[in-house]
Point group: C2
């Protein structure tokens, strides 16, 4: 069994070591082949580890750094002052092949900038994209990208997102994924120049299974496997979905627990309902991948709890096993060859 | 009591007269001062009316047209072939002051183009915007615009949306509404050029209560009263919210009704839950206004049922009573004066 090493930015996210350390410990019990490097301040991390009865060992060890990148740091200053931060060091561990993937819940802009600067983009890629899956009505998944790595893109970049999404999704699906562009209508005349131009590009290639435009309310209806959009639209789409899902769960709980009788009956008769509805909450699907790089970088929600961080680590392990960057590279080459002919 | 006349495009929407005629009849019973002109094919409309025991009279009458605008019609051909269609005639009735507002569930692009062409824009307005309210967590409303009238806009147009949204919302709220720009983050450095430039413009005026950026998951959290974005983003935001809300309701029903016992208990204990959750479904909030015109035009969902069309007619009546176009005009003038000084 080949060892998989994941570098975890233990200081990143809203709750830092309070959730990253317990998540790391638990993730080790899921994958016997997994090693984790906790990157951060050892004077903080060791007490957290020892409170769980753990000490640095062969499978979980600490890479000491004494600085962190703040959420408020400007992109311009991050590059200059990134040396010695936990996020930068976690990425560097992937760059020098000490780790095969890194996970961070820190500043998205910083993670993207530093990953791009340190790991470099794959050939034929202009911009990395943030991708995650949303749960669909039938219990399947839909891959949505970009979720916010790029607030504006051109048609060619959106086309590349379709190729990258295809490479990622086909590994899960074991078939060629159906790719759609998120738009304000499904008719060809609908939308802005970006989606119209990208649609034309996608119609010209056979190696991508492009099925046309999709509207946001169809996203969870199993009509497409991969949905592409610019990062502004994708971010709004994901967060609007999370907002409504959370509000529904909140209202449901209020009602169910509004009387003792209701609470008691809910517990007996509707316990599975809660877990089913929670599954629908996109917020639970933690671990967005930064695609298009020569290494694996997983972005965890800033507000991620222990379970969510474990999910992000699981995603990192899966991507290492599936060799996502080289699969994307292969796909890009195939499409590039088709476009040249 | 002053009479209010609403022209209803009785042929528009997915279900046409099957829902528009019963909705019109019921709306008359809500507002004693309301008259409705059903615009469409009288050979179709009269049987629908008579099946409900109604005949054209002083309060509900038919304006005969024998053509309709199809959803698939291209914007370029709509202007040319709009004469004699139910939508065009409904708008013309507003233009010649026979009606004070019109309601249509037809092709959004056509409705916008024809309204703009026939009714003209207010002074200081470059583009009309589609606005609707979403239900918030506390049971209040948030006004979101644009919902798809413009797939791309500049910062000045987005600024005008903020002014129009303020004029509409302050009438409901009886206070100065808090205005925010929808963005991918709340920090000033976040977002694309459009939102950054518009934010600068809004910071320069005192007559708009601009509170900064808002993220899509905060939309229903009562943090802002008016939220502005371009029509592409707004459309995706609204439809993503609808998609998740509908999926939750569907799953909830499946669980509640999965056994006779559960169905029976749900009916007794959780009946109010359904209506409460349905209230959260943005889909129920029918009747988006086309703002920025010299007349009142309400866009109904294409898939609207009878209740939804009644809601659209109610919105039309409210806007007539509140004299929305002249209020917007006043607001625009105040802001324009402030910017000149």
């Amino acid at each position: 069994m080949r060892t998989i090493t994941v570098a975890l930015d233990a200081m990143g996210g809203d709750f830092g070591p309070h959730v990253t350390v317990p998540a790391a410990v638990q993730a080790l019990s899921i994958f016997p082949e997994l090693n984790i490097i906790l990157v951060g301040d050892e004077s903080v991390l060791i007490p957290h580890l020892s409170s769980l009865g753990f000490y640095p060992n062969d499978r979980i060890y600490i890479e000491h750094t004494d600085k962190v990148i703040a959420d408020t740091d400007k992109p311009s200053s991050i590059m200059r002052r990134s040396a010695g931060t936990s996020m930068r060091r976690a990425i560097d561990l992937v760059e020098d092949h000490t780790a095969q993937a890194c996970v961070s819940g820190g500043n998205t802009g910083a993670l993207m900038g530093l990953s791009r600067y340190r790991l470099k983009l794959l050939p034929n890629i202009e911009r990395p994209a943030l991708v995650s899956t949303l749960p669909t009505r039938s219990g399947q998944k839909v891959w949505l990208l970009d979720l916010g790595a790029n607030v504006s893109v051109d048609a060619n970049t959106l086309f590349q997102f379709a190729v990258m999404g295809t490479a990622l999704a086909e590994e899960h699906l074991h078939r060629t994924p159906r790719v759609a562009i998120l738009n304000v209508g499904t008719e060809e005349i609908k939308g802005n120049e970006l989606v119209k131009q990208c649609s034309e590009l996608l119609q010209q290639v056979q190696t991508i299974n492009y099925i046309g435009f999709i509207e946001a309310h169809q996203l969870l209806h199993d009509e497409a496997d991969v949905v592409v959009c610019d990062g502004f639209v994708g971010n709004v789409c994901l967060k609007a979905s999370e907002g409504v899902a959370n509000l529904f769960l909140e209202k449901l709980k209020q009602h169910m627990l509004s009387s003792k009788l209701r609470a008691w009956i809910s517990k007996i008769l509707f316990s599975e309902l809660f877990s089913d509805l929670k599954q629908l909450n996109p917020d639970q699907y933690n671990g967005a991948s930064l695609l298009g790089l020569r290494g694996i970088v997983i972005k965890s929600h800033g507000s991620a709890d222990k379970t969510a961080i474990i999910n992000a680590i699981i995603e990192a392990v899966h991507e290492v096993k599936r060799q996502v960057p080289s699969r994307i590279s292969d796909r890009l080459e195939t499409v590039s060859l088709e476009r040249q002919n």
